[in-house]
């Protein structure tokens, strides 16, 4: 399908477009498979942010792929052997959709049957994510944070005061040309931000949560930065603010764990956060989802700003 087209295409821009379509397709595939939360994330990440970041990278590294010089036959052979062995392995797997498969026997029934009494949140995915397996999620947020730091250290430019040159006017005009885009995006961005907040705080009841909300929030701000210019966006949302927010999000998450430790429970055991265990769970989930949302959104924005800033610096360097 689309994946095969990706293999064949040499023009990297087309590849990125295809990746976007691929992301959207797999998102709809996840909906079919009843994984609404995952579909939500995949739609915003796979079809939105990842394509954007790849585009930003391509503008810096060139569009076309060099023709192959070595034989792909060996690679094809290796891939075919691996695939063949995997398919042979699947012969022992339980059938698709069967409900007596081993996966469904062990912990899942406990989550499905008891999470309402223990956590009191209708969305099981949220209660597993934020309560039962909160420690995992903490680790994952830390990984995202680390990736943000990594991008920052690889691509960050030395801080300098930019003198406002006259030749900026050409670029300003370019932004002004897209007047339709600007007007529409002005109407859309507040709605996207609002939707992100809704997803953030409604994650207990419907599909949603900190990860999705963070990505959507970041998408809105990235849209602003694309249409109104990076300098304008930086004037509104300063980069150091987001660096601070990314750290605060992670700290908020970890400190919820520490507070529950002080209150006599285990690390990230929310039952002790309030007098009533259910209320404690609600409070804990709300706080750590907020932490997750903060970190994810800020890290995504930091990554984009750094890619875009790097590109502008390169262009300015070439003009001189």
């Amino acid at each position: 399908m689309i994946a095969i087209a990706i293999v064949r295409t040499k023009d990297l821009l087309a590849v990125v477009m295809l990746t976007g379509i691929y992301g959207l397709l797999s998102a709809s595939f996840f909906v079919v498979l009843d994984a609404v939360d995952v579909a939500f994330t995949e739609a915003s990440v796979g079809a939105g942010i990842s394509g954007l970041l790849m585009l930003a990278a391509i503008t810096m590294t060139g569009r076309t792929e060099a023709p192959k010089r070595h034989k792909p036959l060996l690679a094809l052979l290796v891939v075919l052997i691996t695939g063949g062995m995997l398919i042979y392995g699947t012969l022992d797997m339980p059938y698709f959709g069967s409900f007596d498969a081993p996966v469904h026997q062990h912990v899942a029934p406990r989550y499905i049957n008891d999470s309402m009494q223990e956590v009191g949140v209708p969305n099981i995915v949220t209660s597993v994510l934020a309560s039962y397996r909160a420690f995992d999620t903490l680790g994952e947020v830390a990984v995202i944070f680390t990736a943000g730091i990594g991008v920052l250290s690889l691509l960050a430019l030395p801080q300098r005061r930019k003198p406002y040159l006259v030749d900026e006017s050409g670029k300003e005009q370019m932004y002004k040309q897209h007047i339709v885009l600007r007007v529409i995006s002005k109407a859309l961005i507040p709605i996207i931000l609002l939707f992100a907040l809704y997803v953030q705080f409604h994650g207990d009841f419907g599909p949603g949560g900190g990860f999705q909300a963070g990505v959507i929030f970041a998408a809105a701000i990235i849209l602003y930065a694309m249409l109104f210019g990076l300098d304008n966006a930086k004037r509104v949302f300063s980069l150091s603010l987001f660096q601070l927010l990314a750290a605060i999000g992670l700290l908020l998450y970890a400190s919820v764990g520490v507070v529950s430790l002080f209150n006599g429970g285990n690390f990230l055991d929310y039952n002790v956060l309030a007098d009533d265990p259910i209320a404690g769970q609600h409070l804990g989930i709300l706080l750590i989802e907020l932490g997750v949302g903060c970190t994810v959104a800020s890290v995504m924005i930091i990554i984009f700003f750094n890619f875009a800033g790097r590109r502008e610096a390169q262009q300015n360097g070439e003009e001189r």
Partner: protein, 122 residues
């Protein structure tokens, strides 16, 4: 009845495509795209394992008795976001490599490395 395994075959197919891109293509960005496809195949693998016939999305509601397994959903949900973060890190590395070497083709980079090594030996 072997046809009941078709979901795994799709996964394996996607994985093979991604793997092939990673091995056979020299362009670093293309390799990253390949890795993304590989990743997605693993995501689909997990999600399809969690799926249950006539099951519903794992949000508790009145009158629904069978839900699909929420655990794979949680794992993959976070994996997607972690995946994009690490992909961004990879792209950042590619950009720096482009700046240092002037190319993101693997063999050109190797040739340049060879040259600098030879020079330092002399």
């Amino acid at each position: 009845m072997v046809l009941g395994l078709y979901n795994y075959w799709i996964v394996v197919l996607l994985m093979m495509i991604g793997f092939y891109i990673v091995i056979a293509h020299g362009n670093l960005i293309k390799k990253l795209v390949g890795l993304t496809i590989f990743q997605t195949s693993v995501f689909i693998f997990y999600i399809s394992m969690g799926n249950v016939d006539s099951g519903s999305a794992p949000i508790l509601a009145e009158g629904v008795s069978r839900y699909s397994n929420p655990l794979p959903h949680v794992l993959i949900l976070t994996a997607i976001v972690v995946g994009i973060a690490t992909t961004a890190l990879g792209l950042a590395l590619a950009v720096r490599i482009k700046e240092a070497y002037g190319s993101i083709e693997e063999d050109e980079i190797q040739i340049q490395d060879q040259l600098t090594e030879d020079n330092s030996k002399c």
